[in-house]
Assembly symmetry: C2
Homo-oligomer: 307 residues x 2
């Protein structure tokens, strides 16, 4: 067993300037698993759903190499639900409705068969839940990757600080990096955040790409300029899935290895935003992915001859 993914599996209802979805399947673990499964299998999932979560969705994920043993199904309860509306710039959104449902009382249990993983991906969830998973692992994974959000910085900072001390890589967006560090400059924010525990920091900037920081190096991967961002929901999780899925396939956790993971994550995220929810991720062929990675190479590849 080599990759554990912890995160929500849920329903979203999404409104963008370009359209509106019904209640569709979403959640961090869902996006991460769809994305990661292009690069590595099996994927040991840890999550909780209600009786309303479609059995068919679980079956599709299983067919993609997901192990469902760590998913709790609360038949008499409902799955987490989020309804939100994106603004024109697609980088900001309003939450219109949140129903915690099964997620409000989630107590994750790590199955024995999940022990000895190489990578633990902690998707965005309560830091207490994330901490519980870390503590249940007999051996520390070689790489622990954390996603979190501003909500936890505001409501559970003490627990979040504990989690931060136990992870190798933190993934956040630019406004979250600024909030966590109380620094406006992202370079300074990165320095402050790495003092809190993570050896590496990935700052996701949506349409403006992503930055990878170590204590003494920095790498930048652009977002692919695309005609229209149709729905950004799940793009960050899809990025994370491509990132850790690729890393699990290479086992190269050096800075150079992480750089490649960032490019793969960016490529995967660029697919996610093309259609509502996980729609686009379900259609992808290996050739689609390879072609997009080539586009990334062309996008940033240059040759300077100094005169």
């Amino acid at each position: 067993m080599s990759l554990i993914v912890v995160g929500s599996m849920a329903f979203d209802a999404i409104e963008t300037p370009f359209g509106k979805s019904d209640k569709i399947v979403g959640g961090a673990a869902t996006y991460i698993a769809w994305s990661a499964s292009n690069f590595t299998r099996p994927i040991d999932l840890i999550s909780v759903v209600g009786g309303d979560f479609p059995q068919k969705e679980l079956g599709l994920l299983q067919a993609r190499g997901a192990i469902l043993e760590g998913i709790q199904i609360k038949s008499d309860k409902k799955s987490f639900f989020w309804r939100g509306k994106y603004h024109m710039d697609m980088n900001t959104r309003d939450t219109l409705e949140t129903q915690l449902n099964v997620l409000g009382e989630f107590e994750p249990v790590v199955p024995d068969s999940y022990q000895n993983a190489d990578i633990l991906m902690l998707g965005n969830l309560s830091p207490a839940v994330q901490l519980s998973v870390i503590d249940q692992l007999a051996t520390r994974p070689k790489l622990v990757v954390l996603d979190t959000m501003n909500f936890w910085m505001e409501t559970a900072m003490t627990d979040l600080e504990k989690v931060l001390r136990k992870v190798d890589i933190l993934l956040v967006n630019d406004s979250e990096a600024r909030q966590l560090s109380a620094q406006y400059s992202l370079v300074r924010a990165a320095k402050e955040i790495m003092k809190m525990g993570p050896k590496y920091l990935v700052i996701k900037k949506g349409e403006h790409g992503a930055l990878l920081f170590s204590s003494n190096q920095v790498f930048f991967a652009p977002a692919l300029p695309i005609d229209e961002v149709f729905d950004p929901t799940g793009a960050g999780d899809t990025f994370a899935g491509g990132f850790i899925g690729y890393l699990d396939s290479t086992k190269d956790f050096s800075f150079e290895g992480l750089k490649s993971g960032i490019v793969i994550g960016s490529a995967m995220a660029s697919f996610c935003v093309e259609k509502f929810g996980t729609t686009r991720l379900r259609e992808l062929s290996r050739e689609d992915i390879d072609n997009r990675i080539k586009q990334f190479v062309e996008l940033v590849n240059f040759d300077i001859s100094l005169v």
Copy 2:
């Protein structure tokens, strides 16, 4: 003679979250010339200043290879003056005061010795002035590069459309590209703008880097992540100066050649923002510039091995 630069030479008074400058020397042509002179000389300047413009400044530019024959000095009048204040994000600013002075009645005259230039760089100025310079050139330069801004789109669109039909490359920022094209997506904006005349479009996104579009290719150069953007004034002009200065030195106006120019422009702009006004540009050594270009290469350089 190979490079003509048209633009303002002026005074600025700047307020940023980090400090405040007195009235200091600025203007598009000033920044462009300081930046371009690292890569090519001579630089044929066309501008207008009042009697208040320091003779010493003109002497310094001359020592950097600027030809001053096309600069009109109106001894009894005052130079253009702009006072502004930047917001915390440094991408937006308020204009607090504008005194057009000599710029209000500027009628550029192209000296005979400037004819047969390879490159014409039209810095941000009234489209009527830009058009006058184009019309005075007996032979069309191989490359005509235009900078403009939202103000001219709002007040002189008919003239601006005429200029656009005569240029090869347009440089604008992201909000200007959106305004000019009435498209939110930058990919769609680029397509619309290239229908207006330019074969290439450069969209400057400040701290988020720059995009270069042709009809069927796109290239992205990031901005160097730096500890603190101290003063963004002139960064766009410094970018333009590095871009056209480098192109004048290579004479490679292909898409591949332009890509290198974009990286050089980005590197030069990253210096500009480190201190007030042109201060940092005046201190640079060739080694400083080469080191920074190496940093750019490291920032985006990656190697993907697909598994």
